[in-house]
């Protein structure tokens, strides 16, 4: 035991380096990542198959498979069987990134107010960025989503459908804005709210007022966006978010009462 891996008891001197053993599979993952960036590999490009990787890295099948699994979990490759199968490079899908970030937040579940606080910051900017970039097909989607909320819901299911459509409105805007990070955060927050709506607040009495306010804001937003008026879109979205935040606070209050009773 020449180089102890943890803090030794009777040695005063510092650890020379981080001596922690790096697993073979992780070394391979790092090598592959380097290979990707150095050779400028793009989505769709193929990795060598398992046999070749075994030879390349002089390791066994199991180790290669662990490395590939790691890359797959990270969303960097997808793996198929059959001729022309194997691992191919992918751009990480949103769903993957979203799910991994949710793991991070698992033990500190963000509350409704926390989510809305962030949303109030982010959504107005998304609206402003989307304004000059929306295409005709985007407008069509937005309009159909608005139309979906026009008629009053007649039952629980329809109400849910409409709430989803409301949120989808924001996803469309996020997808159109050309700031990838902003878009990601926008979509992520919408996902979080969707979960809140569906799993926590589903059984509460309908909030006619809330739905109505949302619908109005969305209509006005659509108008501003059609006019390519980024500043007005931003301002409308800001008000929309403040309104939503307010309604959410009210809802949380009701929820609390409900809980105590």
């Amino acid at each position: 035991m020449l180089i102890p891996s943890q803090a030794p008891k009777n040695m005063q001197q510092q650890d020379f380096e981080a001596p922690k053993r790096i697993k073979r599979a992780d070394q391979i993952v790092e090598s592959v990542k380097r290979w990707v960036v150095v050779n400028g590999k793009q989505p769709g490009d193929r990795l060598p198959n398992e046999r070749e990787l075994m030879e390349q890295f002089e390791c066994s099948k199991g180790t290669v498979r662990e490395a590939l699994k790691s890359l797959e979990v990270q969303g960097l490759v997808s793996i198929k069987t059959g001729p022309n199968g194997g691992a191919v490079l992918e751009r990480v899908p949103y769903e993957k990134a979203s799910q991994l970030l949710r793991n991070f937040l698992h033990f500190e579940q963000p509350t409704g107010p926390e989510i809305y606080a962030l949303r109030t910051l982010v959504e107005p900017e998304i609206a402003a960025l989307a304004a000059p970039r929306l295409q005709e097909e985007d407008f069509a989607r937005l309009e159909s989503l608005v139309a979906c909320c026009e008629t009053p819901a007649r039952n629980f299911d329809e109400r849910m459908q409409q709430r989803i459509a409301e949120l989808e409105f924001h996803v469309v805007l996020a997808e159109c804005c050309d700031n990838a990070m902003l878009a990601f955060i926008g979509r992520f927050l919408n996902d979080m709210i969707r979960d809140l709506v569906i799993f926590k607040k589903a059984q509460l009495p309908e909030q006619q007022e809330f739905s109505c306010a949302n619908l109005n804001y969305h209509k006005q937003l659509l108008e501003a966006l059609r006019a390519r008026d980024a500043e007005r879109a931003r301002q409308l979205m800001r008000e929309h978010m403040q309104s939503a935040e307010h309604f959410n606070r009210e809802l949380e209050g009701q929820l609390q009462k409900h809980f105590l009773a």
Copy 2:
């Protein structure tokens, strides 16, 4: 081949369901995740060892290992060898989540302006949330970071050190604010900027003016935070960010000229 997995040529009707095969290892991962949430397992709790998992899921060692690798990559468990080794539940460390999100952004590298645009939104809120929560030790850290930037840098290394310290100031605030998502975004943006500073803009002429402005803002911020004046902190941070955004734009301009020459 009864249920084709891809779009069939001569069938008009929709796919009934997603018939995609779910790998054994991924099934195990899902089972473990369910087990964790259903039984309210907490960080520090141990998973069954490999042998038990093999029995539990009636599968081979290799498959269990792939499942554990997946959980490890996601940052949900850490695995040790030896007695009392095995997989123990972890709260996903920030570094893990950060790295996974960077994978997502790999093919659409956010630009400086994009990052600063988000920062301008987020940092003022972080400052306001941190104001009432900072402890004496946090103030101590902030002050030592400010002190680090007081004396003018005499060489390249010192200049880098100071830039890092400047960014670290924001990380301290992010860590103290009690909105986990906001904190994550703040830290993440700081990491992105650190990379920009270190790898892209390192060799550019010093920006005396910029450093000086930052130092001043940080000093004023510290004052406002000590006074627990959230509103003033928010406003100062807003100005600070606008100033930084402005300097960054100038820098990008210089970089462009440099590139053309």
